[in-house]
């Protein structure tokens, strides 16, 4: 397989290129749009990217809450002192520690989730060009090695200022 990167000065040209790629039979699974600042979703006719980041804090929060609940319940049951006829488990003060545990678990798992979903550390990041952070739009494409020339021509016809490729 080979990777091709086309660099576009104008966003409109990049949008034209993604349309041309789709007409040539490439799907959203094959190409990726790289930008230095965020563009509204669908600006380039690309599919909406999916992620599972929201699952991570949810799991972290459940784990943190459970740990805090276990800690507070276990310590109170270990010293079952009844005062003033009140129940052994004092819920209101337990809430503070359960809140702390929930938050800490959610934060830690969110950070983990960001690392996981962003593939950090990404040792095999695809093609990239520093001009993307200067405002250029990059379109990277994975294709068969014998299709490199055709893809490069397609990108250039759409308005790419520069096209690079690499084989893996």
């Amino acid at each position: 397989m080979a990777h091709v990167l086309g660099l576009f000065r104008e966003a409109e040209a990049a949008a034209v290129a993604t349309e041309a790629l789709q007409q040539a039979g490439y799907t959203n699974e094959n190409f990726e749009v790289l930008t230095g600042s965020p563009y509204p979703e669908g600006s380039f006719g690309e599919r909406v990217a999916r992620h599972r980041l929201y699952v991570f804090p949810f799991i972290g929060a459940i784990l943190g809450f459970s740990t805090a609940l276990l800690l507070t319940v276990a310590t109170q049951l270990a010293f079952p002192l009844v005062s003033g006829g009140k129940p052994i488990l004092g819920i209101p003060p337990m809430i503070i520690i359960m809140y702390e545990g929930t938050m800490l678990g959610a934060i830690l798992f969110t950070v983990l989730g960001i690392f996981f979903e962003s593939r950090i550390p990404n040792m095999r990041a695809g093609l990239y060009d520093p001009r993307i952070t200067e405002g250029y739009i990059g379109i990277t494409l994975t294709c068969a090695e014998d299709r490199i020339n055709a893809v490069e021509q397609l990108l250039r016809r759409a308005g790419a200022e520069d096209v690079r490729s690499a084989q893996r």
Partner: protein
């Protein structure tokens, strides 16, 4: 670049990014001077702290009142500042863009607060045998009048739990700063030249700007922002309970923690607005920071100043109307006794001065009015922390049933002055260092803003038209 009916000069995302990266690559002489001055004052503060610890140790709380007030001040201003970025992003306020990174960079002050917090832990005794929010108490003591009755032993209260809260808050703030700045660090990495290029690249973590990376970035910033908000309110509230309220016998006030949390919102916004003014003035960034940015913030600042009064009044009127001996003593200790001048100044600067300043349309709609009000608030908040924490730390017997005698005013000595100056300067020093590593503008957010904003003619005038993707 031509001005367009007072809507600011026309800027393209590309020209802004190049300009901002150029600014980031340079360290102006004035900036270096500020680094030196704040660094030296920070050092002076460390010396003051060491001398205080060597001379007085950690047995008595009274000598540490001003130290505690400084920690509370940093917590209620600089550490709270990232909330401005979080809240304004949440409500999608477009005028937020030049100030969000300033707010986020203040996250690094959390590290200093976390360090300064450690000695405070030695000054507060275990929760055993006294009124606290926590679960720990000696089994033979009855604490039934609290409503919530902590009667069982949970090890480490209150120290362990307040430390977990503060550490979580700082971790969350730093994670938010890193995540939010990642695309900008990639720009620093890719920019030609600049000594900080390698570090930027390392922190950017091979950011490429793919659609998925942007999507995860946006979701992560939203999630961490939400957690930061939830944690900040809790941390400030519990800190004020454990390190002030619980140290004064008979001080039972459910409004006080909420008032302190509200004060942190006010202090955080004031910190950002005042810093925005300094960045604009000394960074010569008038073309990017306009009246509309201060105007937007001024309305919230005005509302928070009014709320400050409302919360203070709600707490005060219960004691004033109750008139029990302990309540009268508490009012003497905290407001009208030995710390009356400090309280009156704090009241004037936290409420009266910003209220009377921001009341006027012309002042609100200026680039100097809101920063002036913010400056009042920053000074007022410091005085407010002094009258609360120094007063609380001057009470000897914290396990007594009520406050029977109001201790005299504890005036600052040389070490206290060194610690206060050093603590505040240390916060500014860390901010200045961090602003050299991370661009002071959120480059990606500013570029997005320029792309989504246009000025269009409408009848005989010209209006700003905003693109709203969501």
């Amino acid at each position: 670049m031509a001005h367009r009916d007072g809507h600011g000069p026309e800027v393209t995302p590309e020209s802004f990014t190049q300009d901002a990266l150029g600014l980031h690559a340079r360290t102006p002489p004035g900036y270096k001077k500020a680094l030196w001055v704040t660094g030296l004052l920070f050092l002076l503060g460390i010396i003051g702290f060491v001398l205080r610890a060597a001379g007085d140790g950690f047995e008595r709380r009274e000598p540490w009142g001003y130290f505690a007030a400084t920690v509370a001040y940093l917590l209620g201003t600089a550490v709270a500042a990232p909330l401005v970025a979080v809240a304004l992003r949440l409500v999608k306020a477009h005028w937020r863009r030049p100030m969000v990174r300033i707010a986020e960079v203040y996250s690094v002050v959390g590290l200093l607060v976390l360090l300064m917090f450690v000695p405070l832990l030695f000054l507060v005794p275990s929760a055993a045998g006294r009124r606290t929010l926590w679960l720990q108490a000696e089994p033979d003591k009855t604490l039934g009048s609290l409503g919530v009755v902590p009667r069982l032993v949970l090890p480490g209260a209150p120290h362990v739990y307040i430390t977990i809260l503060l550490a979580s808050l700082v971790l969350c703030a730093l994670a938010l700063l890193w995540l939010s700045a990642r695309p900008d660090l990639a720009m620093v990495r890719d920019a030609r030249g600049g000594r900080l290029r390698g570090l930027g690249g390392w922190m950017a973590g091979k950011w490429r700007g793919s659609r998925k990376e942007w999507k995860v970035h946006r979701a992560g910033v939203g999630l961490l922002g939400g957690f930061f908000f939830l944690l900040l309110v809790g941390t400030v509230a519990f800190f004020s309970v454990d390190f002030a309220l619980a140290l004064v016998p008979g001080w039972k006030d459910s409004v006080f923690p909420a008032a302190q949390a509200l004060s942190a919102l006010q202090g955080g916004l004031a910190t950002v607005v005042f810093t925005l003014y300094l960045v604009r003035r000394f960074g010569h960034l008038e073309r990017y920071i306009h009246m509309e940015h201060f105007w937007g913030a001024s309305k919230i600042l005005l509302a928070l100043s009014l709320l400050w009064f409302y919360f203070w009044w709600s707490g005060f009127v219960v004691f004033w109307y109750g008139r029990l001996p302990v309540e009268q003593n508490l009012l003497q200790l905290l407001m009208f006794g030995p710390y009356r001048p400090v309280f009156l100044l704090a009241f004037a600067l936290n409420f009266l001065a910003p209220f009377l300043t921001l009341l006027w349309n012309g002042v609100r709609r200026s680039t100097w009015g809101p920063p002036l009000a913010a400056f009042f608030i920053l000074v007022g908040t410091f005085l407010d922390k002094v009258r609360i924490y120094v007063a609380a730390y001057s009470v000897e017997d914290i396990a007594a049933h009520t406050l029977e005698k109001v201790p005299p005013a504890h005036l600052p000595d040389v070490f206290d002055l060194m610690i206060m100056a050093g603590g505040v300067s240390g916060g500014i020093f860390l901010f200045l260092v961090a602003a050299r590593l991370v661009p002071i503008f959120s480059l990606w957010e500013m570029a997005e803003g320029f792309r989504l904003r246009a000025v269009r003619p409408f009848l005989r005038t010209r209006l700003v038209v905003l693109g709203k993707p969501d």
